[in-house]
């Protein structure tokens, strides 16, 4: 069958601190097929951004990848040296960040910053790079591309700036686009436009790893979704099936906390307790203390991922059971 764009298996990232190390990403495995949008969702601090940065090789010291494998179309990124990795970044593999206000260099015109991405990976003249930049601007729906490319980041709106970021990422037609909460800082209308853009890119064959804490966005956009909790993927599966038949108590809790039109007037469920501090994870299943079904086995060991139905994997001994 066709080559998967991205295969992450047993990825682990650890940070040494004076109170013993901690692992923001702990034994994570997921796959992104070609032309598929995979969602990575979870509360802030669950490790979803760290996973994205691990793929891009942008982990800042003192943290480093201490285990697992990341295959981009069969190539193991962790085995590459700095130079080889650099030739991939922005070329085969691209990323868009959360806050467009601060993600662009304030003293360089936006057009120049996109040209830079081209000139880094394509041996073309400056003139050609300019032409491609304007074309990229038009692709992402930026009107008056010529005038916009000469202006500075602080002269553009949030939405426009995010479009520039996407243009910058897409200009070298990367195999995989990682989007780290691209719409969080935007208003609803901008958000819809950006999501529409993402769908168009997917239709043109780009695989996307979409990171967000907003379940609504994930539901609209993603084909396949992984729910992360405390550095591990609690449950992953086809988006529709996951939203309709969540089996992991955490996923259920999350969905219960989302208000939606068809459940008007019902009490919103909340998950008791709070996310454990990075360094002090409880023994056994990390969600144990907050889980209604928690028992001896849960406290004993951390559940291994089980495939309860094709493509639907969950880390829970009591998956699917309903608390009494």
């Amino acid at each position: 069958m066709e080559q998967n764009t991205l295969e992450i298996s047993h990825l682990t990232v650890s940070f040494p601190t004076d109170r013993g190390g901690f692992r923001p990403v702990n034994d994570v495995s997921l796959t992104v097929r070609k032309g598929q949008i995979v969602g990575l969702v979870g509360e802030s601090g669950c490790g979803k951004s760290m996973t994205a940065r691990a793929v891009m090789g942008l982990i800042r010291s003192p943290g480093k990848v201490t285990g697992g494998q990341i295959l981009l179309e069969g190539k193991d990124l962790l085995a590459l040296n700095g130079k080889e990795m650099r030739s991939l970044r922005g070329n085969e593999l691209a990323m868009v960040f959360q806050d467009p206000m601060t993600s662009l260099n304030p003293v360089v015109p936006v057009g120049k910053q996109v040209e830079e991405a081209i000139l880094l990976h394509r041996r073309v003249s400056r003139e050609e790079a300019r032409k491609r930049t304007l074309e990229a601007f038009r692709n992402v729906g930026i009107s008056e591309a010529e005038k916009r490319s000469r202006s500075y980041p602080h002269e553009l709106s949030g939405g426009l700036r995010q479009r520039v970021m996407i243009a910058m990422a897409m200009v070298c037609c990367p195999r995989l686009l990682i989007a780290d909460e691209p719409t969080t800082a935007l208003d609803v209308i901008m958000e819809a436009q950006i999501l529409q853009l993402m769908r168009q890119m997917r239709d043109r064959g780009t695989s996307i790893l979409f990171i967000s804490h907003n379940l609504g966005v994930i539901a609209q956009l993603c084909d396949y979704t992984c729910v992360m909790y405390a550095g591990r993927i609690a449950e992953q599966g086809d988006t529709r099936e996951l939203f309709e038949r969540p089996v992991h108590p955490y996923t259920r809790g999350l969905l219960g906390a989302v208000s939606s039109l068809d459940r008007k007037g019902e009490e919103l469920e909340t998950i008791r307790g709070s996310v454990p501090a990075p360094g002090s994870l409880p023994a056994g299943c990390p969600f144990g203390p907050r889980c209604g079904l928690c028992d001896e086995t849960c406290r004993g060991a951390c559940p291994e991922p089980r495939e309860i139905s094709p493509g639907h994997i969950v880390r829970c001994f009591h998956a699917g059971e309903v608390p009494v």
């Binding site: 942008l58 650099r86 970044r89 922005g90 960040f97 993600s103 260099n105 304030p106 003293v107 910058m168």
Partner: protein, 310 residues
């Protein structure tokens, strides 16, 4: 932009006038009658009185003031009391030496300062970081005349690498530049380091790396360009400070600069020379500050279009 420039120039002129006024008042308050100083040990009171009249110091304050302001505007500061040479000629020669010394010191300070600052930031908390920051603190904590003396003794006297003092050829400006520049190098290094450390945390650095830029590429094209903004302002201020004369370095290295001339003028109560040197170096400093502000607006587009902090 034009309007802002004009208002800044106007304000600089007012500041210059303020300095001229302050100087005039000071000279009336400072004890020691210029005529008496000129006559020296042997002068008797009769000769001093005659000299005072000759210099016009016995006229009412107001007439002296208007004559003084007239001189300031027409730029003729007359002839120096003690050296009986035209002040403009004395200052011309002296400023050239100060200019060479200032440029040499600035060049040394900036090259060393930026290099150390960048390395210290990149190797944060490494050996080089502590070494460079320690050396820059040393620069701040040793008086200039001591640094000068140590340099002269070891490099010039013991090793004969460079001339001890004097102004023959460019080689005699190396040691003074190091002595004078070390202090400025220290502050540049510290500023570059702290600004760079701030900027390396910014998101657009991640964007640049995500684009495939190498660590060096990120540093030079993105980080340094932004880190330079406050640093360039500090450098402009430092340069204008250096241009107004470095009395101690000039004295230690026997360089006939504006600073030494000014100190000689005030000790000898040589009013025309003092007016000339002070107004000249003040004008240089004010132009320096003006230059620093303009440079900042040119470099930082965020300010160029909008109002922004002045």
């Amino acid at each position: 932009m034009k309007k802002k420039l004009l208002s800044r120039l106007g304000q600089s002129l007012i500041a210059l006038l303020g300095v001229a006024l302050l100087l005039f008042l000071m000279l009336r308050v400072v004890p020691g009658n210029p005529a008496a100083v000129m006559m020296g040990e042997h002068g008797d009171n009769a000769a001093i009185a005659r000299m005072t009249a000759e210099l016009g110091l016995d006229q009412p304050i107001l007439t002296q003031f208007f004559r003084y302001i007239g001189d300031c505007f027409t730029g003729n500061f007359g002839t120096s009391y003690s050296l009986s040479k035209p002040v403009a000629e004395l200052m011309g020669g002296a400023f050239l030496n100060t200019l060479w010394l200032a440029l040499a010191a600035a060049l040394f300070a900036w090259i060393l300062g930026i290099a150390c600052g960048v390395i210290a930031a990149v190797r944060k908390n490494g050996i080089l970081d502590h070494l460079f920051m320690g050396v820059s603190l040393m620069g701040v904590s040793i008086p200039v005349f001591l640094t000068a003396m140590i340099l002269q003794y070891f490099i010039a006297f013991r090793l004969h690498w460079l001339p001890i003092a004097g102004m023959d050829g460019w080689k005699s400006f190396i040691l003074p530049a190091i002595a004078l520049g070390w202090n400025s190098a220290g502050s540049v290094a510290r500023l570059v380091r702290s600004t760079l450390l701030d900027i390396l945390q910014e998101d657009y650095i991640d964007t640049a790396r995500a684009k495939g830029r190498s660590q060096l590429g990120v540093l030079v094209f993105h980080a340094l360009r932004n880190a330079m903004l406050p640093v360039v302002t500090m450098m402009a201020l430092q340069l204008s400070g250096l241009l107004s004369g470095a009395v101690i370095t000039e004295t230690m290295f026997s360089i006939n600069g504006i600073g030494r001339l000014a100190v000689q003028a005030i000790s000898g109560r040589d009013i025309p020379l003092l007016q000339g040197t002070v107004l000249f170096s003040t004008a240089v400093v004010i132009l320096g500050n003006l230059g620093a502000d303009l440079l900042y607006t040119v470099l930082d587009p965020r300010i160029r279009k909008g109002g922004g902090p002045q």
